[in-house]
Amino acid sequence: MGAATKTVQLLQGNAACARAALAAGCRFYAGYPISPSSEIAEVMARLLPPAGGKFIQMEDEIASLGAVIGASLAGVKGMTATSGPGFSLMQEHIGYACYAEVPCVIVNVMRGGPSTGLPTLPAQGDVMQARWGTHGDHPAIALCPSTPAEVYELTVLAFNLSERLRTPVILLMDEVVAHMYEKVDMRRLANLPVENRARPTCEPGKHAAFTPGADGVPVMAPFGDGYRYHVTGLAHDDRGYPTQDPKLVAATNRRLQEKTVRNREGLMRYELLDTEDAEVIVFAYGIVAAAARRAVREARKQGIRAGLFRPITLWPFPGEELAAACAGASRVIVAEMNLGQMSGEVQRVIGRSKDVESCLKADGEAISPEEILLAIEGKEVRHV
């Protein structure tokens, strides 16, 4: 455990994720090998047993998330990690965890798609899948770090949000961040607060499994603690029993949807750089935000008043915050490693008064600061 106690470490994004999971109380990991996420499984396989946890390599990604949900229902915090094709397979159980309200963390290290796509070159093509990948209406929380230190921080946050809101939380890394090494000062990170799900205090017979508390979240009893109840992926009533009563179904579905609305303050993270007086705002997340930061600084040197809006929480989308930041700007540029998935969302938020400009790339290469600078300067960017 020497590495974990060093105050300053050279930490890789994937390793930071695994270490943070342990720090957040994760004691169960189930996964299936896939690049570029495999290091997370490898680190977990080594670190979990000494911490009293369990690691299992499952037969596929569907089974992996299934096992994580099972462990979580039995009272143990669980996580899985994957990449694009595996993330597609996991959608079935992401929907299940949303509906059955089982806390769990899913890490998706994005690689180029669609299909088997570009193993294992960087992309940000799964951001809409993280929101809408599973069928039906459901809440979605997706966090997107842009440095290994932030991977650590957001992994802990992912567990905390998941425990607090009883819902799956997705950590969306791009391949560059996952494989990036960085000097990380562990002193601040080591003391991040850790949250644990509330447990029922009433007598077993009196516990209504899915009756929500004041925050819209029901208190969760682990299997085996005497609170016997039913969990299903069917539409269910407050006892967990299947129902097709429109009123009960509507109440549950709306309550789930509103989890992220009612608790918005605690989960909305974003970063502003030089936006106060900016006439050009660049919207970028993940590793692209690092390039955008450079581009914004270069632009400022040239006398262009540029600023950066970096969403850290991608879902729920920080629409109000973005609209406020863009209010005084005449131009908004979205830079992302896909063919414009978030551009539409940004356009929706800022309205039709100005057209969103795009700096897009989906060819397996990261977007460079120069390319974003060209976009800020209003010059043609020729990479797509």
Binding site: P242, T243, Q244, D245, K247
Partner: protein, 282 residues
């Protein structure tokens, strides 16, 4: 707006009752008469006690495929609780034809009205009469059984529907012949006529009170007690067949009943082989 003269018939029931076939036949009748007809239905969880309904709209011209609440000319309900659930679709002065034979669905969805407790609804007849007025009910299953096949219940009900529709008898019989399996045409037509000529009577509450747990248990001094949970029994007859002492028989409602408790040798087969967990030997 819909053109004048569009007729709306809503056919409802629970899974396995034959709602869809009945509405298919009505559709054929309408088409053969030169009407435009639109049919829209929900089914799928058929055997699982799920709801099945079919909206049939016909006339010179039909635009929307579904019937708005308060506009159906006729509601043909294969089951009383379903009649209650859909009664708000019937227009003022419309007709409700109800099969009085109840089907108790799984507990989770017994009374389908909003805010209702999860049990089979009470006072259905009064509730229906209060809303519409023209409520006609009869035991269609009884007529079907008389013809020799309880599955013909849907055709019996279709016959009852025909008594309030404009079409000729020959239209119906022809559509039936075209829609059912050849060897069942004759029986289906017979069932249809039985329904067409049915006497509508007051609704019979043929079920025992819901409060009764383990009804009709019989106790003898030295013999074990066999209890049959009547509302759980689905009438598969397995217990009757496997009992070596012939303690049980099927009653007129097709439910198992204890007739010779004193002969019981406590072999437990009736309890262990009851798929509905409705039999207990104490």
């Amino acid at each position: 707006m819909e053109p004048n003269g569009t007729q709306n018939v809503l056919i409802v029931g629970v899974g396995g009752q034959g709602v869809i076939l009945a509405s298919d036949i009505l559709g054929v009748v309408c088409m053969n008469r030169g009407y435009q007809v639109k049919k829209s239905e929900v089914h799928g969880m058929a055997k699982r006690g799920g709801v099945v309904y079919s909206h049939v709209r016909y006339g010179a011209q039909v635009l929307s495929p579904t019937i708005e609440p308060g506009t159906s000319d006729v509601l043909l309900a294969f089951e009383p609780a379903e009649a209650l659930r859909w009664s708000k679709y019937v227009k003022p002065g419309g007709t409700i034809i109800v099969n009085s034979r109840k089907r108790i669905p799984p507990a989770a969805c017994q009374d389908r009205r909003m805010d209702a407790p999860t049990r089979y609804p009470q006072g259905i007849e009064q509730a229906l009469r209060g809303q519409v007025g023209d409520v006609r009910q009869f035991d269609a299953e009884e007529l079907a059984v008389e013809i020799g096949d309880h599955r013909m219940c849907n055709t019996v009900l279709l016959g009852a529907l025909s008594s309030v529709c404009e079409f000729e008898l020959q239209d119906w019989l022809g559509a039936i012949a075209a829609s059912v399996k050849p060897k069942t045409v004759e029986r289906n037509q017979k069932a249809f006529l039985a329904g067409r000529n049915a006497q509508f009577a007051a609704m019979r509450d043929s079920l025992p009170s819901e409060k009764c747990e383990m009804s009709r248990s019989v106790t003898c001094l030295d013999a074990p007690e066999i209890a049959i949970h009547d509302s759980w029994c689905k009438g598969c007859e397995i217990c009757v067949v496997v009992c070596p002492q012939a303690c049980l028989k099927m009653n007129e409602r097709n439910r198992a009943e204890v007739v010779k408790a004193e002969a019981c040798i406590r072999c437990m087969l009736c309890e262990w082989m009851c798929p509905d967990l409705a039999v207990r030997v104490q």
